[in-house]
Amino acid sequence: MIFSSVFFMFMFLPITLLLYFIVPRAFKNVVILFVSLIFYAWGEPVYVLLMLFSIVYNYVCGLEIDYNRKHGRSRKAKFAFIMSVAVNLGILGFFKYYGFLLENINAILPIEIPYKALPLPIGISFYTFQTLSYVIDVYLDKVAVQRNIIYFGAYISMFPQLIAGPIVRYSDVEQQLANRRESRAKFGDGVAWFLRGLGKKVLLANNIGVAYEAIAALPAGEMSVLSAWIGCAAYTFQIYFDFSGYSDMAIGLGKMFGFDFMKNFDYPYTSTSITEFWRRWHISLGSWFREYVYIPLGGNRVSRPKAIRNIFVVWFLTGFWHGAAWNFIFWGVYYGLLLFLEKYALKNVLERLPKVVKHVYTMIFVMIGWVLFFSPGMGSAVKYIGVMFGIGAGGFADGTAVYYLFNYFILFVLSIVCSIPYTYKKFTQFAFGKKQDHFKAAMVCYVLIFLLSTAYLVNATYNPFLYFRF
């Protein structure tokens, strides 16, 4: 089930809200756990068992680690901890990377190991990382063990961030699980977050994504340089609005139930360096890797070779986390390389450049990164990047490029407007500034987003039956 669907918004959500707010406080987390499991089972009826196993297993592991540590049996605690991490990563590895691994083994070795790629359980990359944050922090005594399995289950399976993040660390919501306050103002704030996210996803991402798909489907050799850049720009906006829209919806839903999740995106496309970009893009993932991989490895407080190794380890894993394919690994290492260069070689050069140049530099490399990301394989990624720089392109600009530029002009403008902080700042200044009535205008905006998005959601099943070949 996805948030941007008629079923979620007009069936699942109202019923969930109703349930949540009529039950007494003691049962609120029960409702969260219950509806989250239904939410998960809705798309993955069988894999919900995996989710249940994950909850029970890690709950028990947490208790065991805690018990052994408190009784001075650090070895046993360590064993339980390692077992837990191994099992979590094992499950993730089995479902996500098993097929990829065998594919590559088969390619290298002269043997043929038969394998059947399993369908990936939705959200497994996200909830595995959430689980790990709990187990690690319990082991390191950073958080108290959770003795209430309902609370723990609610944390692992919490439907707002279950399938696409943000990756909420246990330490961030530990207190909120036990005592949080829902309020009408907070609920409304959540609604605003949710609607902003909905608009980003449905009105911007989905629409501009059509341009990317059309251009990506152009026959080989017929793509001009301009077309390639337009297609890449369209994808650049699509993935940002899609992902950040989804995160915003998750944050909004969380607020409706009284939770505060961390911000996941902070206007990444205004960055003036790659380093800054990664501080603003998918913040919860970046901070997870920093907390649980980079810093434990020693971060940058070790010898230089080791520090460089640490950068590449983290970015290799970041890439691999995004998907079991070589182009994701390259994408991660590509960023590792850029960050390494910025840190050790380009630092002084970049500092002296004007802001505009730095911004252009950042966006060009981010866009090239997205080509690695969206291409089905490394071969086609290299080809596409080639076309962007005139190699194998069908001319510099052609009618097709002009057509897509003009037809998506309004969307590109809207996308740019919506990806800079200035717009939202002006909006709040206008709405909550001097004039008392202006906040009503803001309300009209939100209602419009709601109605306009709903039209697209309803249209999703528009499926005329045609006597086409008749």
Partner: protein
């Protein structure tokens, strides 16, 4: 002095604090109202959707809407129940058609020039976007046609491929919209077919008349007028003499909204459907729909004018095989392989043949060669729209059916095609599957 400074600082601070307090107040006021509105709206939407009587059929989409799925353990376990339930909720959403129109307005505002694979052209023209063909499949079909022509070298075999509106009516396309070069496609097919097949260049004739209404605005077919210009060229190449010079044009419907209107969702234009009656060369005929065993004295089916798809006024749609015997004594007999483009062209052919056998390979599973013998066919014509022809996967199968000794040769042919296409088995099983699969099929095929 210093005290003054402090005072103004203090004042400024106070003002800032006050502003912040006000902003916070208004923000939370907005949030509290939003909360109320959101809850009310969700509640009302939920209630209306539950109470609202369920619709069975959507006129604008021309299909049955999803019903509430049946709850079984199996359907839950496989996830089928959930998917169907989601479709059900969306299909039965209140004011569904109005929401969909709102979406189209939004698209228009955003400046989109395409909707669901249909170009939104100028002056109300909707134009189908031709698909990228699967050339391996095309090769197999064309090879079969060439082989067929070679096998019947005593009979001239003609092929006329009619381009789509998007290619011919370039001035009505959205500016700079990319279109397949269908002339290029046609030339490629001609080369593949070889000398045994005589190609008729209809594209040129269509281009000459591109300022006239030769294609429907809301349908993917050519109009009767377009078919007439096509016929002129075909008649010339097929050496039909004594052509009719005057027709009486009957406009049989003025409010036709065809497949492209449904597909794109844009219902802004309406089309007129006309039939052409020759003034001098009147002939009587009998139409036999062999599969259905139905006979008729008219190629028109006026009942269809009351239905949505008014193009089916010609023969009531597509049929596996139609035998038309006329009172004409010319002893010329035509075997016509065709798609739906031919349906409105046959009216022009009537006065010149004694028998016209119309075969639609998509629905025809019999032997073609026996028709040639039993009707002593004198001409063979393949009349297709380019897009349908390039997406077709049934022509080869129909032409390859033969007697045992020749069969061996052709099976080799077919076998090669199978290896090339790699999807032959799939295709033939889908042939009978009906129109929907047919249309999807051609879109799903990989580019070359």
């Amino acid at each position: 002095m210093e005290r003054d400074q402090k005072k103004t600082d203090q004042k400024r601070n106070d003002r800032r604090k006050e502003q912040k307090r006000l902003r916070h107040k208004r923000q939370s006021e907005l949030c509290r109202r939003m909360a109320r509105i959101f809850v009310v709206v969700l509640g009302v939407f939920l209630a209306v959707n539950i109470v609202k009587p369920k619709k069975e059929f959507s006129d604008s989409e021309n299909r049955m809407l999803a019903k509430r799925p049946q709850l079984t353990w199996e359907s839950i376990k496989s996830g089928k129940y959930m998917t169907e339930f989601e479709t059900y909720v969306s299909d039965q959403f209140f004011l569904r058609n109005q929401w969909i129109s709102l979406k189209l307005y939004e698209d228009k505002f955003l400046g989109k020039k395409e909707s669901n694979g249909v170009y939104l052209g100028k002056r109300g023209y909707l134009m189908e976007k031709p698909d990228e063909p699967d050339w391996k499949n095309v090769k197999r079909n064309v090879a079969a046609i060439g082989e067929f022509a070679g096998r019947h070298s005593e009979i001239p075999v003609y092929m006329a491929l009619v381009p789509n509106a998007a290619y011919i009516l370039k001035d009505k396309m959205p500016a700079n919209a990319p279109v397949r070069d269908q002339l290029n496609d046609i030339e490629r097919v001609e080369k593949m077919a070889g000398d045994a097949v005589k190609s008729i260049d209809v594209a040129d004739a269509m281009k000459k008349h591109s300022s006239e209404e030769i294609y429907y605005k809301t349908d993917h077919h050519w109009t009767s007028l377009g078919a007439y210009y096509g016929f002129e060229k075909i008649a010339k190449d097929m050496k039909i003499d004594g052509l009719e010079t005057e027709y009486k044009v009957h406009v049989v419907s003025g409010d036709f909204q065809g497949t492209l209107a449904s597909k794109s969702g844009y219902h802004g234009s309406r089309d007129a459907v006309s039939v052409y009656e020759p003034k001098n060369l009147k002939s009587d005929y009998i139409v036999l729909y062999t599969e259905e065993g139905k006979k008729s004295t008219s190629i028109y089916d006026s009942k269809c004018l009351k239905e949505k798809d008014k193009y089916t006024v010609f023969f009531g749609g597509n049929h596996a095989r139609i035998d038309i015997s006329t009172t004409q004594m010319s002893r010329k007999n035509l075997l016509l392989f065709k798609d739906s483009y031919a349906n409105c062209m046959v009216q022009f052919l009537l006065p010149y043949y004694q028998n016209i056998i119309v075969v639609d390979p998509r629905y025809f599973y019999d032997s073609v060669d026996s028709i040639i013998d039993s009707y002593s066919i004198t001409d063979v014509l393949f009349l297709y729209n380019v897009n349908t022809f390039l997406g077709d996967n049934s022509i080869a199968d129909v032409l390859i059916q033969e007697e045992p000794e020749e069969n061996a040769v052709q099976e080799e042919d077919g076998g090669q095609g199978e290896e090339d296409g790699g999807q032959d088995g799939e295709d033939s099983s889908q042939d009978g599957g009906g129109q929907e699969e047919d249309s999807e099929d051609s879109q799903d095929q990989d580019p070359e």
